[in-house]
Amino acid sequence: MTLLQLKEINSFYGGIQALKNINIDVNEGEIVTLIGSNGAGKSTTLKTISGQVKPKTGELIYKGENIVKLQSHEIALKGIAHVPEGRRIFSKLTVKENLEMGAFSVKDKKLIAARMEMAFDYFPRLKERINQKGGTMSGGEQQMLAIGRALMMGPSLLMLDEPSMGLAPIIVEQIFEIIEQLNKQGMTILLVEQNAYQALQIAHRGYVIQTGEIQMVGEGKTLMNNEEIKKAYLA
């Protein structure tokens, strides 16, 4: 079943068109990855879905409902979590408060506690630093926090914008493992990555985006073996 569908999306920054007639489907239970070079429009796509960029035309169908008119926080309430590019953790809030912010819409205190435990399981470092201010954590620590924070929402769709950026290989490895794990537990994932090789490895399907347009769609493995893609993105 399709969880999210982008139909003919056109997005702009001022006069500059960043997305041109984008069509993307994300099915429930899938990992879908979006790859493309710098400035291709990957982040813009995620921002459009989460309501931070309002498309000029086009529709966003999520669980059968057009959410294109909704504001960011309403979209988040529907269960779409967005881990933004560059982490964007709340630097003056502690690790714990950052996580709590993730669960802003959750009323049940027990559920919050349980989710926090889960986040700590994935990222023990966060537990060690629970009272440290987010801003003083290292890049990698911040990335963990950003993902942990998104998990606190208990989202049905998790969107990650370059989660491996700036992370130690060992952490990247972990993060990809966690992504797969989350997915196995039923979470649908939309993943934007520069690290195309690893992304395509775990993705069910992938989209290649170039200067705001979708160039190619296919299964992860297929794309990985595509010569053109190898040349352009895998080097």
Partner: protein
């Protein structure tokens, strides 16, 4: 020297009362600053509006004869609630009209609308007051005018006794209650955390399903309601108000907020009390200490001087933590 010690208890008490007013108004600055990084110049005027609303309500009550028939405390509670709700909405309205359209604009431009709003509020209040009373310097009915003697001389023989007005006691109590509740709200509740989150990164907060506009409105409501309530307390203490009280008091309060570390709730409180006490001490003793070379009119120089000194050694204010930028 004896004089100074003799009057010290009285000076401290007077300073505390003045400081309490600064402290609560400072809270409003700090909250708005914390969330929008905006020096809300209009906050002083909201305080002023609160003083006028409170006085107007009191005058109406007097007209209706409530003043003698209801217990004063109850009356005060009603006036405080009316004034803070109205100023709360006023603050929200100002944000909606004058600040929200400029969210994405350069930071300093909102300073301009804030100044504009200040001028506007001053004159609107003046119009209304003049229309109703024929004069814009308004003196309200006095409540809680009783005096209490505090036997400070029994603590130390060189101390003189001090006096305190009932209204001053009320100011101190209400101020402390408001500050503690606010501190709890901001630091310990979900909406408080949301306010701090929005303060840092609105976009990301909205990704956490926080309705940013609502949080900002809430902040303005709270800050303004506190300011308005303080206005009422101020009117109670000093009885006489005019449309221009907000500007100077706002300035001092803002200074207090900065002294404490702007954006920091506790800092604002401590800063407010400190400025109040420093100012009072300087006004009372500066000329005695300097043998008339620096008379009491240097009290603000003294206060600002201390502020500058503190900031030189602790550039982020007394309570501001140096959030060293991650390089």
């Amino acid at each position: 020297m004896n004089e100074i010690i003799h009057t010290l208890p009285q000076v401290l008490i007077d300073g505390l009362v003045l400081g309490a007013v600064y402290a609560i108004v400072a809270l409003g600055y700090t909250m708005v600053y914390g969330i929008l990084e905006l020096i809300n110049f209009a906050h002083g005027e909201i305080f002023m509006a609160g003083a006028f609303i409170g006085t107007a309500v009191l005058i109406t009550f007097t007209g209706l004869g409530f003043l003698s028939s209801l217990p004063a405390i109850l009356l005060l509670a009603i006036v405080l609630i009316i004034a803070s709700v109205l100023t709360g909405f006023l603050g929200m309205g100002i944000e909606r009209v004058a600040y929200r359209p400029l969210r994405k604009a350069p930071k300093l431009i909102t300073l301009i609308t804030a100044i504009g709003i200040s001028f506007l509020l001053q004159d609107i209040v003046r119009f209304i007051a003049e229309l109703k009373e024929g004069n814009y310097i308004i003196t309200g009915p006095s409540l809680f005018a009783g005096q209490h003697q505090i036997n400070t001389s029994s603590i130390l023989s060189s101390f003189g006794n001090a006096q305190i007005k009932s209204a001053s006691i009320i100011i101190l109590v209400v101020a402390v209650v408001m500050m503690i509740s606010l501190d709890y709200f901001i630091n310990k509740t979900k909406w408080g955390t949301a306010m701090r989150a929005v303060a840092q990164d609105r976009e990301t907060a909205s990704l956490m399903s926080v309705n940013v506009n609502k949080v900002i409105s809430l902040t303005f409501f709270l800050g303004s309601a506190l300011g308005g309530a303080t206005g009422v307390l101020f009117a109670l203490q000093y009885n006489t108000i005019d449309p221009y009280i907000g500007f100077i008091l706002g300035l001092k309060a803002f200074t207090a907020a900065v002294l404490g570390g702007i954006g920091n709730i506790r800092g604002a409180m401590v800063g407010g009390f400190l400025i109040g006490i420093i100012e009072m001490f300087a006004a009372a003793n500066l000329s005695t200490i300097t043998h008339g070379i620096f008379p009491s009119e240097y009290k603000d120089v003294f206060a600002f001087g201390i502020l500058i000194l503190v900031l030189i050694f602790k550039p982020e204010g007394l309570f501001g933590k140096p959030v060293a930028e991650k390089v």
